[in-house]
């Protein structure tokens, strides 16, 4: 019915049009209706995404469409090329579906801003721009288009974290987020350059005649014979990467370098060690932003990047994948440990996001053998998918709490809200249970796949390390359950306590907020069960519409089965965590205080986030700032040298000025002396 060519570009174009419309006309004309373009466009993109999925499922090969040439010169040819395959379709649906719900929720949440119309329009313009960039990121068929989306989401994140720019902390957080992620992006762009150069150098015909020969009589030949457009597009690059022989160590090394550089970008964007420090601060943004950008979609872009580039990571030495897995597991554990003691509800969720993305990285890092590739990518993308639902749900529920509490988010200042906010209570509980990995909920299934993948990987290269990572993942699962339910019990149980900021109107949020919450809650509870463990929709989609086109050689995925003992084990960890939280925060609320007192050192360490921010400041920010001042001093010196040189003619003038002393006798003497010298020279010359 529809050509995929004509709908693919509409998916980013609709939100872009909405962003332009809202940005230009919003403050003047749309005013209180500024949310409509954004909601309609994102919902429209969502419908189109489902359409794309239906097309992809019935297609033999991925759709690739080059719309126009972006920039082309010499051996560089970058086209605006979009692609649709299984991986893209999943990402698109996640982004646009969760995105539309969050956009609807925002109408209620941002109602305070409706009076200041400019802010209201600015918010929805940036949200629409974000959806545009994010869809472009996942639709791009070459690394430059991907990078364009990548930077675009970074910009929107900057604009939205700094939405309340009058708050110094928000302004600082926005800058920090942009700069820290850009640090990773610099590595990523070098990686892209390297990949491009490597492809060109291996696919260029050496028998190019020199230009000078052509001059004397011949035809012009291009510098390269491989089409430069291929050197950045996914299909050719991945085919090249996956067809390298395993014994070709030089190529392995090359792909390893590329993979590590791409990983830099992924680590920055997805807030992993060592660049995770921006994400907790990013909670300064409005809560829907935290839900959409800093939980469901943008921060998972790094996971998408690695999954998309899996052929390259797979062609690299196994140590690279081990690095990915180790970064993931370490981040998961560290963030979970920090989340244990935070008082700010949104920060707990932020650290939990970092931790969950760590899980996804761990999953991706498990693709050490051919048979594990599909298992690993499915686990990561499946967790990305379920996480988008339950984490967006948790953030929005927290937002609903904030909305009712007059923007107070410190869990020490409210409690017992389950009677005050009954609907929010239930939706939060659904999200928390899914995050904690309570059996049969979506988080349980996806996390289980990851832990299973780690266990699987421990039978192959670097097995013992993967075993350690597996244990870390299990422990983190327990910690996750604990801190999630700690937050839940602290907020919704105990005696009713409402901060004065809430006023007398602490009440449940309006339907425009609760209905999206309920839809997300249904997703968080049920989606995991439906799409993967029994139907295998997810793994089939990825196998038939991603795996076979991404790898040049055929890859046999491992058969899918349940590891029942593992499931039971992880259930024990999850339920244990929940139980412990119940024990400590409901049964005997004095216990946490005593425990914190007993382990003061550890408690303070976790509360102060292991002092990582301060360490970075001392070892990185400080010296760099100092160096800037040093450069200024150097510049002063350089300028002084210039001025000094400028003085030279004057000095020279001063030196010879005494000669011009105005005494006629002196001039006469000088004349005669000069004449004498000249004449003697002449005479001597002639005499010779």
């Amino acid at each position: 019915m529809f050509e995929i060519r004509s709908i693919l570009w509409l998916i980013p174009a609709l939100p872009l049009a909405a962003a332009a419309l809202t940005g230009l006309l919003g403050p003047r004309f749309l005013r209180k209706n500024s949310h409509w373009p954004c909601i309609l466009a994102v919902a429209g993109a969502c419908v189109l995404s489902f359409l794309v999925l239906s097309k992809v499922v019935h297609a033999e090969a991925p759709f690739v469409e080059r719309y126009y040439t972006w920039m082309q010169s010499g051996s560089l040819d970058i086209g605006l090329t979009l692609r649709a395959d299984g991986l893209t379709a999943i990402m698109l649906i996640t982004i646009t579906f969760v995105g539309s719900l969050i956009a609807i929720f925002s109408v209620g949440y941002m109602s305070h801003e409706r009076e200041h119309e400019a802010g209201y329009a600015r918010f929805f313009a940036a949200m629409a721009l974000f959806v545009f960039s994010m869809t472009l990121l996942v639709l791009g068929d070459n690394y430059i288009v991907l990078f364009a989306g990548w930077e675009g989401v970074g910009l929107c994140s900057y604009l939205l974290i700094g939405f309340w720019f009058k708050k110094p902390s928000a302004a600082a957080a926005a800058r920090k987020a942009f700069l820290v992620t850009r640090l990773g992006d610099a590595g990523m762009i070098v990686g892209i350059l390297l990949l491009w150069g490597g492809y060109l150098s291996t696919h260029t015909d050496t028998s190019v005649r020199p230009v000078a020969d052509n001059l004397i009589g011949g035809l012009a030949s291009n510098l390269t014979q491989a089409s430069p457009a291929d050197a950045l597009s996914f299909d050719t690059l991945f085919r090249w990467a996956s067809s390298t022989r395993p014994d070709d160590t030089e190529s392995q090394l090359f792909f390893g370098t590329v993979a590590l550089l791409l990983l830099c970008g992924a680590v920055g964007k997805s807030a992993q060690i060592p660049l995770y420090v921006w994400l907790p601060d990013a909670m300064e943004g409005p809560t829907p932003v935290s839900a959409l950008i800093h939980a469901a979609t943008m921060v998972t872009a790094g996971v998408y990047l690695i999954a998309r580039s899996m052929p390259i990571f797979h062609a690299a030495p196994p140590a690279v994948l081990l690095t990915v897995a180790s970064i993931g597991a370490a981040t998961a554990l560290l963030a979970a440990l920090i989340a244990l003691t935070q008082h700010d509800l949104k920060r707990v969720l932020a650290y939990s996001t970092i931790s969950q993305i760590g899980y996804m990285f761990l999953a991706l890092g498990c693709a050490t053998t051919d048979s594990l590739v599909l298992v690993a990518v499915t686990a990561a993308i499946f967790h990305l998918f379920t996480h988008a639902f339950f984490k967006a749900l948790l953030f929005l529920s927290a937002g609903s709490v904030m909305h009712a509490m007059g923007n107070v988010i410190d869990m020490r200042r409210f409690s017992g809200l389950r009677t005050v906010l009954p609907k929010t209570h239930w939706t939060f509980l659904c999200g928390a249970a899914a995050l904690a990995g309570v059996p049969l909920l979506s988080g349980f299934w996806s996390k289980d796949e990851i832990i299973g993948a780690a266990l699987e990987a421990s039978h192959h290269a670097y097995g013992s390390v993967y075993m350690v990572l597996f244990i870390m993942a299990l422990v983190t699962a327990g910690l996750t359950a604990f801190y999630t339910f700690r937050a839940y019990f602290l907020t919704f149980w105990g005696e009713v306590k409402i901060p004065p900021e809430a006023g007398h109107h602490a009440h449940e949020s309006p339907p425009v907020m609760t209905i999206p919450l309920m839809i997300l809650a249904v997703g968080a509870v049920g989606l995991g069960l439906i799409v993967q463990p029994f139907t295998h929709w997810f793994s089939h989609l990825l196998e038939h519409h991603w795996l076979h086109s991404a790898f040049a050689r055929s890859i046999e995925p491992a058969p899918h089965g349940f590891n029942v003992p593992l499931m039971l084990g992880s259930s024990v960890f999850a339920l244990g965590g929940v139980g412990l939280a119940w024990l400590m925060y409901v049964r005997s609320p004095a216990l946490p205080g005593k425990l914190a007192g007993a382990m003061q050192g550890l408690y303070q360490l976790s509360l102060n986030k292991f002092h990582v921010d301060e360490l970075y400041y001392v070892f990185f920010v400080g010296p760099v700032t100092l160096f800037a001042s040093f450069c200024q001093v150097v510049d002063f010196l350089v300028d002084s040298v210039v001025d000094l040189v400028g003085q030279l003619p004057g000095l020279a003038g001063k030196l010879i000025r005494p000669i011009q002393n105005g005494l006629v006798q002196f001039y006469a003497l000088a004349m005669i002396l000069g004449l004498t010298v000249f004449l003697s020279a002449l005479v001597l010359r002639l005499a010779r």
Binding site: M71, R182, A186, V190, A212, L215
Partner: protein, 580 residues
């Protein structure tokens, strides 16, 4: 090709501003509004002409492409005058493809000619000059209230000088315009500048003049060298390039001679251009001149005049001294450019004066421009040209916005401000946009230049030279550092708690208001251009292709002369430098 209309347009593009300057000067100091209107009218017409010519150039059906059989050189179109004649070895008149019949000063058989025209290198720089002159006039509308007619007269004279530099294809004519451009700017800074204006104007004038005098030696040197060996005296840049390559290609015995000449010529030409770009460590006149210059002067200085240095490298240094550009210029200029990228960014961060910060950011950005140029391949050269245009647009816009801020508060110190986005939301939004364009956000213009340059540099260093790609890494570091100082400035000035400097000056009783319509019209078109170039740059890149191809072929021939084996043996030793 023989349609006279474009030629007339080209001439009016060049001389209309000068005519305007004379008219404005004669109008006298008392008719201020009239002076402003006349200047505005002139700039609007010039802009219209520039756009018309660019459009004609892009549409030009028989644009003279250099074919593979021809020696690479420049082939300008719309050259005023008839093609002209030269006498060949047997004293017979021959049609001259690289000249015009408009002789200025005859020298026996040859002459210094009024040889101007359009090609892929200058067409967009002409448009840039015209585009930036309009906001400069508008922004000075209320800023300049003393000696208004003189201000606009010098300003319009500067337009002619800059147009002349870009349009000239006669090397002496080029040099004359090159030197002439100093005079109007000297007066613009020296009369209408800030408190230190005399010092700044003097330093700017003497520093750049010193460099240009050495450049003159290079100019004379190359003309004489060509005459000495080929017996042909010519001042036409395309012909000089052709002679150099004829001799290099067909007379192997002269190779050593030409290498020596090239070395001297390159260094002499570089002396003037490196100061103009400016390359570190010859940059210290720039921050001072910028800080003291009136806004319109800063815009033209950063937007157009700095490009003259880079343009000189591109038009003269590389084509006339290809072997030395490759063996000495490439490492020398690229290293200085890399230092400039990093060093300029750090200096920029350390500044408390916004204008000074922008000035140092120019050092950083033009470092990338030079880096891309000395990749000496199509991607790098195109990127370098794009970087010139993009830097002109975004830095020009930034100076305009800083000028508007200064007009309101009479201070530019970052520490005096805070949270200005709440007070001046539109100015803040514009500033964010311009900063994004400057840090190379994909979709805006900055990214195009950066990406092309980086790819070009990477290709040159890693694929052709087989070295570790330091230059590209420095360029990528520049992207991070650029975001660092610009976003820090944004945070300090526009975000956070409102901190307004006390309003002083004659208009202190007026409340501070956001941008008015005139100011919006000043900046918004530049922003639209930034977006348009960022989204669809290909038509521009396409129109640059003939000249870019010529120069990259020149460089490629030099590579082949330099290495006995074919230069592009990529496959054999691709693995050598794959170190992380």
């Amino acid at each position: 090709m023989n349609d006279p209309l474009p030629k007339i347009e080209l001439l009016s593009l060049l001389f209309l501003p000068l005519a305007g300057a004379i008219v404005v000067a004669l109008l006298g100091p008392n008719r201020q509004e009239l002076v402003r209107r006349v200047s505005l009218g002139v700039t609007v017409v010039v802009l219209f002409l520039a756009i018309l010519l660019a459009w004609r150039y892009v549409e030009e059906p028989v644009r003279s492409m250099t074919t593979a059989e021809q020696l690479p050189t420049f082939r300008p179109v719309f050259v005023p005058g008839s093609p002209g004649t030269i006498t060949d070895a047997l004293n017979r008149p021959q049609p001259n493809p690289h000249g015009t019949s408009w002789n200025l000063i005859p020298f026996g058989s040859a002459a210094i000619q009024f040889y101007i025209g359009l090609d892929g290198f200058n067409v967009w720089l002409i448009v840039l000059t015209a585009v930036l002159s309009l906001p400069s006039v508008l922004v000075s509308w209320r800023q300049i209230n003393e000696r208004v007619n003189e201000f606009y007269a010098w300003f319009l004279a500067l337009q002619t000088a800059m147009m002349g530099i870009f349009l000239s294809f006669d090397i002496v004519l080029f040099y004359v315009f090159f030197e002439f451009s100093l005079v109007p700017l000297f007066f613009l800074i020296g009369i209408w500048g800030g408190p230190e204006r005399r010092h700044a104007a003097g330093k700017f004038f003497i520093y750049t003049l010193t460099g240009s005098v050495i450049t003159l030696l290079g100019v004379i040197g190359v003309v004489l060298a060509c005459r000495a060996k080929s017996g042909e005296l010519t001042f036409s840049i395309p012909r000089l390039v052709e002679i150099v390559h004829e001799r290099l290609l067909y007379v192997p015995a002269e190779r050593d001679y030409w290498l020596g000449v090239q070395g001297v010529v390159f260094l002499a030409l570089m002396a003037g251009f490196a100061i103009k770009v400016p390359l570190v460590p010859f940059h210290t006149w720039l921050p001072l001149a910028h800080v003291e210059a009136p806004t319109a002067g800063s815009v033209d200085l950063a937007g157009v005049l700095l490009k003259v240095g880079a343009y000189g490298f591109l038009r003269l240094c590389v084509p006339l001294a290809p072997d030395v550009s490759l063996t000495m210029g490439l490492p020398l200029v690229s290293t200085l450019a890399c230092i400039g990228i990093i060093y300029g960014a750090f200096c920029s961060y350390a500044q408390d004066d916004i204008k000074k910060m922008v000035a140092y950011s120019s050092v950083s950005h033009l470092g990338l421009c030079m880096l891309g140029m000395f990749a000496l391949n199509p991607a790098g050269l195109t990127g370098s040209l794009m970087q010139m245009i993009n830097h002109g647009l975004s830095t020009g816009a930034m100076f305009l916005l800083v000028g508007m801020l200064y007009e309101r508060y009479h201070t530019r110190k970052i520490s005096d401000f805070g949270g200005m986005a709440a007070r001046l939301p539109l100015l803040g939004a514009f500033m964010v946009f311009v900063c994004l364009s400057s840090v190379g956000l994909p979709g805006l213009n900055g990214f195009i230049g950066e990406a092309l340059s980086l790819f070009g540099v990477f290709e040159q260093q890693w694929l052709v030279q087989k070295q570790f790609p330091w230059y590209a890494i420095a360029g990528a570091a520049g992207m991070v550092l650029g975001a660092w100082y610009l976003f820090t400035m944004l945070q300090r000035v526009f975000f956070g708690e409102l901190k307004e400097p006390p309003v002083v000056g004659h208009d202190s009783h007026e409340p501070i208001t956001d941008l008015n319509l005139r100011e919006i019209l000043t900046v918004a078109p530049i922003m639209v251009l930034c977006l348009a170039i960022g989204v669809y740059p290909q038509p521009m890149l396409e129109s640059m292709k003939p000249e870019v191809d010529s120069v990259s072929r020149i460089a490629q021939m030099a590579r082949e002369r330099g290495s006995p084996a074919p230069a592009l043996s990529l496959r054999d030793d691709k693995q050598e430098n794959r170190t992380p």
